[in-house]
Symmetry: C2
Subunit: 318 residues, 2 copies
């Protein structure tokens, strides 16, 4: 084996040299006081509080390496954590990453994964400040995200009040549309297909919603009805969605739904992983948000035009 061959895989290169490759040349934002390379990183928390969350992605469960490039996987792993930070009304400041992979993983794939993570982190203005690389029989990526509230109160799930307007920022149904196209190996619809691999959370709209007085907020990771169900249950309110208000969402996936024989409304109501934000507002809905329903007093639950949705409401992890 030549030195170049050895460098080609994670086992050949060795842990510390792999980390050097992943870390080299990255530019940290100014509020990262101490970046990677020590036992831990140090990130400014000017607000005096830190928002924190974590998500784990497992190969063949949350992504497939024959569908997604390592760059796509990196973007998705960061995006879904950043969306959770947005959903509190905060701004992501830093991510740490655990990466498990087989020893024969090409080093270039690990670098591509890191490139995708940095691409997405740059979109939100955050740094990747630390991590851990370990040997595993398949790819496992675990990200933890830190966020800053800039002096605002966090927007919880349990604050929705009767009379609030329900509104959404970002896309719905696209990831499910893309998944179905990939799953059936149908050609075309490249943009929808790419949306399944890399979601596009509406960065900045979490803070905008908080500034506009949002009473409750979450990101759409499991499906619109399922995630609104969490708000309804925690807040002790009923939420009714207007089908007509979802027309633009339905139209955006209608051709793909027709091609696959699916109901586009089912994708919009039940499809997860788009990481749109959905929130409840006591007054005017801010710019960038579309009203889609109302909060009313009553038995906690979610209806569509007053009726229970007969289809699938969303995803369960086990």
């Amino acid at each position: 084996m030549t030195a170049e061959d050895a460098d080609a895989t994670l086992s050949g290169l060795g842990e510390f040299a792999v980390i050097d490759r992943l870390v080299a040349g990255r530019r940290q934002p100014p509020f990262v006081t101490l970046g990677p390379g020590d036992d831990a990183a140090v990130v400014a928390a000017r607000d005096g509080r830190t928002v924190v969350c974590t998500d784990m992605l497992v190969e063949n469960r949350h992504f497939r390496l024959d569908w997604s490039s390592p760059h796509d996987v990196g973007r998705k792993a960061i995006a879904q954590n950043a969306a959770d930070i947005e959903a509190m009304g905060a701004r992501s400041t830093a991510f740490v990453v655990g990466f498990g992979a087989p020893g024969d993983t090409p080093t270039a794939h690990a670098v591509e994964l890191a490139d995708g993570m940095w691409h997405e982190a740059d979109l939100v203005g955050a740094g990747i400040v630390g991590g851990d690389t370990v040997k595993a029989p398949l790819w496992v990526i675990s990200v933890a995200a830190l966020g800053d509230l800039d002096g605002r109160q966090p927007v919880p799930r349990d604050g929705a009040q009767p009379g609030d307007v329900v509104a959404v920022a970002g896309e719905l149904g696209r990831s499910q549309a893309g998944y179905t196209l990939w799953d059936r190996a149908l050609p075309g619809f490249d943009e929808l297909r790419s949306r399944h691999l890399v979601p596009r959370p509406p960065y900045g709209q979490g803070a905008a919603a908080a500034r506009a007085g949002a009473t409750a907020m979450t990101d759409v990771s499991d499906g619109l009805l399922a995630d609104l169900g969490h708000i309804a249950t925690s807040s002790g309110v009923h939420i009714d969605i207007a089908r007509d208000a979802l027309r633009p969402e339905v139209d955006a996936v209608a051709d793909a739904a027709s091609r696959t024989g699916a109901d586009p409304l089912q994708w919009v109501l039940g499809g997860g992983e788009d990481h749109a934000l959905v929130a409840t507002f006591p007054g005017t809905v801010p710019s960038g948000w579309r009203a889609i329903g109302i909060v009313v007093a009553g038995r906690p639950g979610v209806t569509v035009d007053g009726d229970t949705w007969a289809g699938n409401a969303g995803w369960q992890s086990f």
Copy 2:
């Protein structure tokens, strides 16, 4: 299948009910502003900075479920992250946990894992404030830890100066001793065997070292020589360890080494995973720390009584 049978596994119970079981009845410390149950948690960061790190543990690589109980695995996962926070001179405040496991995992094992995590988190006075549970073909546990510096500067790896004293707090060689006993299926030496499953970082000594003016610090995760090598290389100094000063460490594992035919000094110098702290001090070594060597000018590296150690210096991840 009865309802009770269904509750017995993660798949049967379902993601949200599993999370409820893991979260129920835990008491968060007062500085956890918002605990689990929302998109993200909120933790006070009174210092205005947050220390953050992450470590991933993979079944059969970092632990074996025929050696460790789920409780042991939980303690270890928290301990090794808490040790990284200590090594910056900080105090752990909060942990988030990603947990991947097969669907047929008994719910009771997941609860035991969480119990072990809380046991260890309680030792450092921190909370487990969030997490993610996902389906995976084997157990994967990823922890991210947050820490608070209480107004002190972080203790880096690159600050060691010629003339500093090298000192250690906590245990060395025990984990390697325990591993060897488990690996050879030798009976007895229960305390050493348990140390391999659950390390005992010297909680509080990281902050004590920072207050005493430590110039560099790290935790012994890869092995004393390997981890001191990181300090020597980053600081551009040479470190010489005195074999005589390690006599108490060697004595503590000598009987087990004799039983297995191993060199106890090799375990002390090269064995990782004890998560002792090793630091360099410009003056008096604080209480709880034992001087084991000196920092001198010269080519970066680590020697033992002036000689290069011929044995194994430590562990590589790939």
